[in-house]
Symmetry: C2
């Protein structure tokens, strides 16, 4: 049996949903990469009794490693280290050298500010230098150190801000204490197939077929997930079950080949970025209001291929900025394929780009009609010197769903057009 | 003592971070509104043994209500209802009338598709009509029904997709079974103060002062959260502790008045939307790539005040589309206040708007220099007929952090300019 782990995310702001937890999923991914089984993520507020109950629960479930995030700050509600020390039966001791190093960080951080009283700041941060006896100290990335407390289970205590937690994780997995805790891990492979446009029930049917016909199917741990019209199939298996995975893949290609857009886990965003290499793109958006261009510029290096975009929310902006003929809007309505084509043409011209994508639709909640209900969205992808590709869809959900789904549909249309499919 | 609840989120795709859980935080918020104490959110994969362990843990912690989300779909890995039935000691029985209603929904959903075999679809969905004996059935919003299983604790089983879970929650809280489970809830008030630009340590210092000087301070449950430069202070208290909250608020105003932008929980987005009433706005974005206009158009009714925006990633686009003089870019660089002003002017003119916001900066990872390192971002807010307001900041973090923080800084500059402060 593989080494097992649990994650404890602390913080009342996370428990009550005022801040989204990014650490649980991130650490989960890292554990999976290491081949450590993750059984549970638990979230609680800044109450020591609740934190301790979760630590006891995970210990009782027999995990080898508990990773905690959060509660290492200077404020009085940050109690994770003290709670872990008590749970592990260790005293909390002041590490004066660590205290000095934290003070040094604070001195640097506040050097340019005159409005902060350094001594009171330092006092507030003193508690961050209190560590469980015998623990391995992980140097601060921000101002909070982490600790590894060896034992059964070993507890790895990390700070809450992702930009502190992530670098500290990398240090932590190199420590003897963490290495010992996960020594029994199993090697796994993980493969991801992505499809666009297939209903989940149809995939379920194919997987039942696989269960019947693929030898070794039971050794594949398959999870499926439908998100914004994309279906993700993640399969984990031990290396010697690779032939079963190959058979499954053949079955999926057989049944749903035209829907599969990724067999290596790459996202449509990765593929579009690759396909845009050597070309430039411009966007013309109405209902998505900039989400498509924000998505295209999300990755580093986007400036090599993104020329720019126009968000033309008002009809006059469509006319003035993109040169959409006013009578086209009057005749067909702003949400129509002819207007989408004219928007794409305008963007192509305006930005001198090689390819343009236009999105115009009704995100709601208002603005729907009988013939064009909320969720109706028209698209056009135009490459210089080619015929425009257009599409009209009706997307389910609320305003935010329609805007997000529209962005994804645009990415897939773009991908197909750029591949020349 | 108030009624207490726990939330169990199931789904391997959530546990492993491939999909972000929106249900835990959403249900947490609803429970808090009802005055039900939330102690724990636990997340596990689609393994019955793990789901059952979490149910047992929450029951042992003495909660009155467990809410589960996910695992109600048609695929074989959807096992929540069966697991809850076993945990509650109830048989699983086929509800034939419910089965017929689900079939009716499927018939409607697939009416326009010829590529789907209705019978196999119906077979896949039959398991969704298996319910624990004596449970209250919650009618499907999608195709999956929910159930309420009364007992100690009462278990409320909801589907995973937020657009199904949320309407079903509203039905569920009206059922006798859920009402009985949370009968012992306490009334709470919750107030939120938001600040921009204050370091968390300075707030911690003020809260220590409050602990010393505010009578009844210990009856206030205060959580603080720093996010994208905004500091959120949420306080929960029973109605008779209201005077203590008023004293705390007076203290916060006293110490940090100029940093407080919201005392009623409203977001900067709400305030900007209100301030824009009767005016129109245009955006000119470089490094944020459309995120600012996407944020401004996020809320329903944005078409009343958003004229549009230009995403000018390439310098030529800044010149061609916004009329930024090329020599201004050559002299000062694209990331400079003079260029930000010219971008705002261009947007104001181009879209015929009353106010324009421009953002130009270096999001990284490349592009930084000694004088303008990654994170340097210049802003301009220009109202027709007024002097431009400019600002240059250096933001911490990676590309995505810099882009998000820039969007937030722009919203705050806009808010101040529109208030005429």
């Amino acid at each position: 049996m593989s080494a097992r782990a649990g994650i404890v995310v602390t913080g009342t702001e996370v428990l009550t949903g005022r801040i989204q937890d990014l650490n649980g999923p991130w650490v989960a991914d890292r554990l999976l990469e290491l081949g450590v089984e993750l059984a549970h993520i638990t979230i609680c507020g800044d109450r020591p009794a609740d934190i301790e109950a979760q630590l006891r629960f995970l210990a009782a479930e027999g995990v080898d490693l508990i990773v905690t995030s959060g509660g290492l700050g200077p404020t009085a509600d940050d109690l994770t280290v003290a709670t872990v020390a008590r749970f592990c039966g260790r005293d909390l001791v002041l590490d004066t050298e660590l205290e000095e190093r934290i003070a040094e960080i604070l001195r640097r951080l506040t050097a340019r500010r005159s409005d902060i009283d350094f001594d009171s700041l330092r006092a507030a941060n003193r508690k961050q230098a209190m560590v469980p006896a015998g623990a391995t100290i992980l140097e601060p990335v921000g101002t909070a150190p982490g600790v590894v407390v060896p034992g059964s289970p070993t507890v790895l205590v990390l700070p809450g801000p992702p930009r502190e937690l992530q670098p500290m994780w990398r240090t932590a997995v190199e420590t003897d204490a963490v290495r010992d805790a996960i020594a029994g891990r199993t090697e796994y492979r993980q493969e991801t197939v992505r499809m666009f446009g297939l209903p989940e029930s149809a995939l379920a049917e194919t997987l039942r077929e696989g269960e019947r016909d693929v030898p070794g199917f039971e050794r594949l741990e398959i999870t499926t997930c439908l998100r914004r019209g994309e279906l993700e199939i993640v399969t984990r298996y031990e290396p010697d079950a690779a032939p079963a995975y190959q058979d499954l893949l053949t079955l999926l290609r057989d049944r749903h080949g035209s829907m599969i857009f990724s067999e290596d886990g790459s996202l449509v965003d990765d593929q579009v970025a690759d396909l845009l290499s050597g070309r430039t793109i411009a966007t013309a958006e109405s209902c998505t209001g900039g989400m498509l261009s924000a998505r295209l510029t999300d990755r580093a290096g986007a400036s090599a291929y993104v020329a720019g975009g126009a968000v033309c929310y008002a009809d006059t902006a469509k006319v003035d900025l993109l040169g959409v003929p006013a009578d086209l809007i009057a005749t067909h309505g702003a949400v129509s394929e002819p207007v989408a084509v004219a928007m794409a043409d305008g963007a192509l011209r305006r930005f001198g780009a090689d390819v343009a994508v236009a999105v115009t639709g009704i995100a709601g909640p208002g603005g729907g009609t009988d013939t064009k209900p909320v969720g109706t969205v028209c698209f056009c992808v135009r490459q210089a010197g080619s015929e425009p590709v257009t599409r009209t869809v009706r997307l389910p959900g609320n305003r935010s769903d329609v805007r997000e789904r529209s962005t994804t549909v645009a990415m897939h249309l773009l991908r197909r057009a750029l591949r020349g499919a």
